[in-house]
Amino acid sequence: MHHAFSSYHPAVAFAFIVSAALLSMAAMHPVYVALSLAGALAASIVLRGARQTARSLAWVVPMCAIMACANPLFSASGSTELFHIGGLVVYVESVVYGLCSGGMFAAVFLWFASYARCMTSENSLALLGNIAPTVTLMASQVLRLVPQFVSRGASVAAVQDAASAAAPVTKRDAAHGRFRIVSVLMEWGMEDGICRTDAMRARGYGCGAKRTTYKRFRFGRADAALTAAIVALAASNAGLIAAACSAYEFYPAMTPLHMQAGYAAYAAFLAIPIVLQAKEWWQWRSLK
């Protein structure tokens, strides 16, 4: 399925989502958390679709609520008393802190979900390919073998199940049969390995030449420009966030909030996938 980053090199999506997740984790500040959450939510909708996002929210929201409620129970600090139940005093500061950590958790979770959507195994390998070609090749082989093992395991199990004429008499016998599947698969895999090694050597593996790596994705000018923009925005935001967070305190009383240029810069950074999506939407709309 197509998404906002899919026409770009995987490095672009990687740079954006990883820096967004890192900044979200670092920014423990009510306004920044709100922005992170809004950005993560928007990115998730743009990259994964509204339905998938709603499905993750179904358990992310309750998690957040639990974290928000739990914090005042365990940390009874702050200065503005909200109410008290028995001997337990609940402060506004403590509730806000709980809400912020819940929101941060939700945002980081959504970034990870978006990461999984954009960085398929192939995309991750494309990034890794430049750094570790051998690892890339190995990963590619493993990715090939895993589904093969699973389907073979299923066929061995099916053969055992279908052989009612030789059905296991005892439970122990049956369990042993299942356990044996693993060793059968290992041996079968090794047998294949001989053939595969031959196929590799026949096509010049280990022939002495320095291996090159076929690049499925080209890192073009547009990719470079977008990555540069992402890195620059992320770096400047990191500075602004550090300053904002060090100037802000939850306890004993919350520092008053006022408008800062940093909020706008962070919002601009988080808007990148939305802008990409909007651009595309506009292109297709104008063609109709």
Binding site: P147, A158, V159, A202, Y205, A209, T212, Y214, K215
Partner: protein, 500 residues
């Protein structure tokens, strides 16, 4: 000087010591290698540049060994005599291996395609597989792109170039293997029974592409096969390592089995129904399309019932349904013999769990209550007595098939499901399989067989159901079925028919 010259070439594997054979490559030669015997004896032939040369011989006659001797990376270890020259270089001179090619030259000059489509694929996606050899040779990025594009275009792979190799059919996988080798731009292409595991349609498509490679690109092809009739239209040169049986025409075969057919028909007329599938609907996932939609089929007790049809028509799914591995989402399956059945998978390896042939046959003795005498008898009946101590994987394809049969028959199962029992077998083994199945039916056992091999179905089956689009297109006695089909029919002449 000819492009390939083989002069008085002989080869013998070193004598086997215990389990050492397990590690040696060239599985199909396993049976020949036990004692120090010549696997290939005094072979001589020449191939000109641009030839399509076919090396003919039954399984285990040394075709693989000979082909491997032509490819330095895969050259077997052992004693040899004679000499081999290829593409202007010497590979073997008076029984000694000469390094005529550097490894890099060899990889790019001589291409090699093996039998098993899936096992020789290295990477997870089609494009990576096409690029794999080029990466090994250190080809530069732009050149690599051009070559991958070229071969993908030539073979029509473009539409599925991003697919995972696991999703492809065997025929597609084998095309990828050929394309991946061709991307290296070899001058000589060696193929070891490349179509043995393909269904008839895929086989024709593969050979057609191979012929184009040979004629349009001028690449010399040397292909080993036990079915030279498939490539008769393309071959320019034939080397017979071992004369094959002459074969017979379809009429002769039908004449020979006519009395049996008559007797079987009379015997089955009164037979009751063993397995009945009624209006069955099956799909593998809620979102997936139906594989079977309204399938109706009845298998009579004591009959050999063949299920035939193209790829993806639901043959194997129907077999799983009958065997109780799958349940229909709608409709019903009644199996009167459900308590005494066994399934032979497409690949007999899925049935083997032990380290030797003898242990394999002994595995179910406690469960099914057969004794050592029965095991010895099974070994003898299937001609496996001298292989009793071998590992099942070291047997040839035909022998593995026989071992699977032996193991399943020892259970005393009254109902047998066979999934493509003739895949990869040469005509002699195929005829063996047919004899075994017919003998089972004569004993009163019921056999349901899924097959692509119409020749096999013609001489083996009592009834044939043709599946199409998840339904039964027709069910008829074998005689009528094959008489009424115009396009979907057995070969007019086959070596299997000579062995009936």
């Amino acid at each position: 000087m000819a492009f390939v010259e083989v002069e008085g070439y002989s080869f013998a594997y070193p004598p086997a010591e215990g389990g050492a054979t397990r590690l040696r490559a060239g599985v199909s030669d396993a049976s020949c290698a036990d004692e120090r015997a010549w696997v290939v004896r005094d072979v001589g032939f020449q191939v000109e540049e641009g030839d399509f040369c076919v090396i003919v011989g039954a399984t285990g006659c040394g075709k693989t060994t000979l082909l491997r001797s032509l490819k330095p990376e895969l050259s077997p270890v052992g004693a040899r005599e004679g000499s081999i020259r290829a593409a202007g270089r010497t590979l073997v001179e008076d029984g000694a291996v000469v390094q005529g090619f550097t490894p890099l030259e060899s990889a790019s000059t001589i291409g090699y395609v093996m039998q098993d489509p899936g096992a020789q694929i290295v990477c997870d996606t089609v494009w990576h597989e096409l690029a794999f050899g080029l990466e090994n040779l250190g080809v530069a990025q732009d050149e690599m792109r051009r070559r991958v594009a070229e071969v993908a275009h030539f073979f029509g792979i473009e539409p599925w170039v991003r697919s995972s190799v696991e999703e492809l059919s065997g025929g597609q996988q084998q095309l990828v293997n050929l394309a991946a080798v061709l991307a290296l731009r070899p001058r000589l292409l060696l193929l070891d029974e490349p179509t043995a595991q393909l269904d008839p349609n895929a086989l024709k498509r593969f050979l057609f592409m191979l012929a184009r490679v040979n004629r349009e690109l001028g690449i010399t092809v040397v292909m080993a096969t036990h079915a030279p009739e498939d490539v008769a239209a393309y071959a320019t040169r034939v080397v017979e390592l071992q004369p094959l049986g002459a074969g017979a025409s379809r009429e002769e075969a039908e004449e020979k089995i006519a009395p049996r057919r008559k007797a079987r028909r009379e015997a089955l007329a009164k037979a009751d129904v063993a397995v009945e599938v009624r209006d069955a609907f099956v799909r593998y996932d809620r979102q997936a399309p139906w594989v079977l939609r309204g399938m109706d089929v009845r298998v009579r007790r004591g009959s050999v019932h063949a299920l035939v049809g193209g790829n993806g028509c639901g043959k194997s799914t129907l077999l799983k349904l009958m065997a109780g591995i799958l349940r229909p989402q709608r409709g019903s399956v009644k199996n009167a013999l459900a308590g005494s059945q066994a399934l032979m998978p497409q690949d007999p390896k899925a049935l083997f769990v032990c380290d030797s042939v003898a242990e394999e046959l002994h595995e179910w003795s406690a469960r099914c209550g057969y004794g050592e005498d029965d095991e010895a008898e099974a070994l003898r009946r299937f001609g496996l007595a001298q292989h009793a101590s071998q590992h099942p994987y070291d047997l040839s394809g035909g022998q593995q098939q026989k071992l699977a049969f032996a193991k399943l028959l020892l259970t005393g199962a009254q109902l047998l499901f066979l999934d493509e029992p003739t895949k990869g077998l040469d005509p002699a083994s195929c005829a063996d399989a047919s004899r075994i199945v017919r003998a089972l039916a004569d004993e009163g056992r019921t056999v349901v067989v899924v097959t692509h091999d119409l020749d096999f179905a013609l001489v083996t089956a009592d009834e044939v159901s043709m599946l199409f689009d998840g339904e039964t297109a027709c069910t008829e006695p074998a005689e009528e079925f094959f008489a009424n089909n115009l396009v979907y029919r057995p070969n007019a002449h086959a070596r299997l028919f000579g062995e009936v």
